[in-house]
Amino acid sequence: MKQDTKGMWRCRFSTALGVVMVAAASLAVPGHAHSAEDTVVSGVSEAAEGRMDRGDHAWMLASSALVLMMTAPGLALFYSGLVRKKNVLGVMMQCVFLMGLMTVIWALYGYSLSFGGDGPLIGNGEFLLMNGVQMVDGAAPLEGSIPRLTHMLFQGMFFIITPALIVGAFAERMKFSTMAVFMVLWGTLVYCPLCHWVWDNGILCDGNKTFPIGGALDFAGGTVVHISSGISALVCALLIGRRLGFGSEPMPPHNLTYTAIGATMLWVGWFGFNAGSALAADGRAASAFAATHFAAAAGCLAWSGCEWVLRGRPSLLGACSGLVAGLVCITPGSGFVQPVSGVAIGLAGGAGCFFACTAVKSRFRYDDSLDVFGVHGVGGTLGALLTGVFATRHVADVRSGGPVGLIEGGTVLVNQIVATAITWILAVAVTFVLLKILDATMGLRVSQDEEIQGLDLSQHGEEGYIFI
């Protein structure tokens, strides 16, 4: 047998790459905040009590728009380019329709269920039908330094994109009607409780008194958005089953140009997603913006680097997947870590998700069609844990002057692990039960004929491309 000398060198190369990455991570030590900065720009926006801050508000309105753009055209293009031509509209329709469906749910009761009241487990009816949110007597109720309307809008965009992420797992084979019902139930029973737990003083919120060890740091949605959707996606992929012809028929992406346009739109939109989660136009928003940007860049390089070393050349799909993986990974920590830590986190996300989407997926042979688990599930989990490593009091002083992340001797990593585990359990349990019920009542999959014909025609009666 001829000795695989090329393989040997690739092995040495990847080891070297690994060493470089660890070195980079160790360089991401928190720097000192410049003392002059402390007096000029504080980390957290301090609006005069009961006064709206116009700078904060302008930024939050813009952020809300950016996050909506992430679902469509961002995610819609990213996903639809990856499926076969006959299913291009199916994926887009799921994204567009969910923008409508989830928005209405959010307006009617979703916001109230997520952010109403003070309970540890779930919201209340305080904000039903936008009561307490909309203007009264010419005045808009405030949530901190911005109108509650804007807070509701911003959070609502997250409520839209989280279910939209899941559709990638069952692309090309799920019944549209069942998907719509599933998302309403999933949004109500997984997202709203989880959002309340993490962001409205619930059991997974940092500093909560009911379940202190579960109180974790999640700036923009590592648990609420990425872990929840990623793990639920895996359950969906396993229960719905593989596509016809998976493993034997070629199913390459039909239009990577869409995927590239979508991925880059996601990069830009993510500034609204992460930096907007500061809920203010302040120093912390700037730090989150920087960490996010650096993580995307590092993720892009990491995935491309892995391909370059292991396959001989980098691909556009790899670069796009890597940047998204980096963004996913930085999401929970973006407002807690320094920008250079963002580089380390991005590298980890890019490389980690690369292995999840190639080696792990092919080892277990599940058909997570668009790698929702591989990128969001794995990237989100990794990001939540790395937040516990790199979080620093210099960005967010959440321990009253004491150390936060592992790099400064803090213990928040424990909370991160607990919160991640609970999120996994919630996502798996509820998704499993919902799918079983829907399978028995409505049916999850289209028929074989419909799947072969393609969802565009069978579910929507349309063709994506009519070229003479």
Partner: protein
């Protein structure tokens, strides 16, 4: 009458068209096709899944000529389309039963 069908490389289309025009051929039909012979395809890689693409894109050219003109046209195409590498293509010659010009109704010899 003969129908001459030639499978040639994409980038040779302009050369073959010019050569046939100079030779006196009045019209042709061109389609984009895929196929393989001795020329091998290539592999593509998407997120860890490898795909073998063995159908190579080519151009199919169809020309209808009078029987005595056929040999000259064949030689013209061969000269213009040849590079000497595997994948230059092939020419197939069919006997044609009838030809009609739709506008005028002329048949066979007058219709070419």
């Amino acid at each position: 009458m003969k129908k001459i069908e030639a499978i040639i490389r994409h980038f040779k289309l302009e050369d073959v068209k010019s050569a046939l025009n100079e030779h006196g051929v009045q019209g042709m039909t061109v389609t984009e096709v895929r196929g393989f012979g001795r020329q091998k395809g290539h592999t593509e890689m998407y997120r860890g899944t490898e795909y073998t693409v063995d159908l190579v894109p080519k151009i199919k050219l169809e020309v209808v000529v009078a029987e005595d003109a056929a040999q000259g046209v064949i030689e013209t195409i061969v000269q213009a389309a040849r590079t000497g590498q595997v994948g230059d293509g092939k020419i197939f010659v069919h006997d044609l039963a009838q030809t009609v010009r739709i506008r005028t109704g002329e048949v066979n010899g007058e219709a070419i």
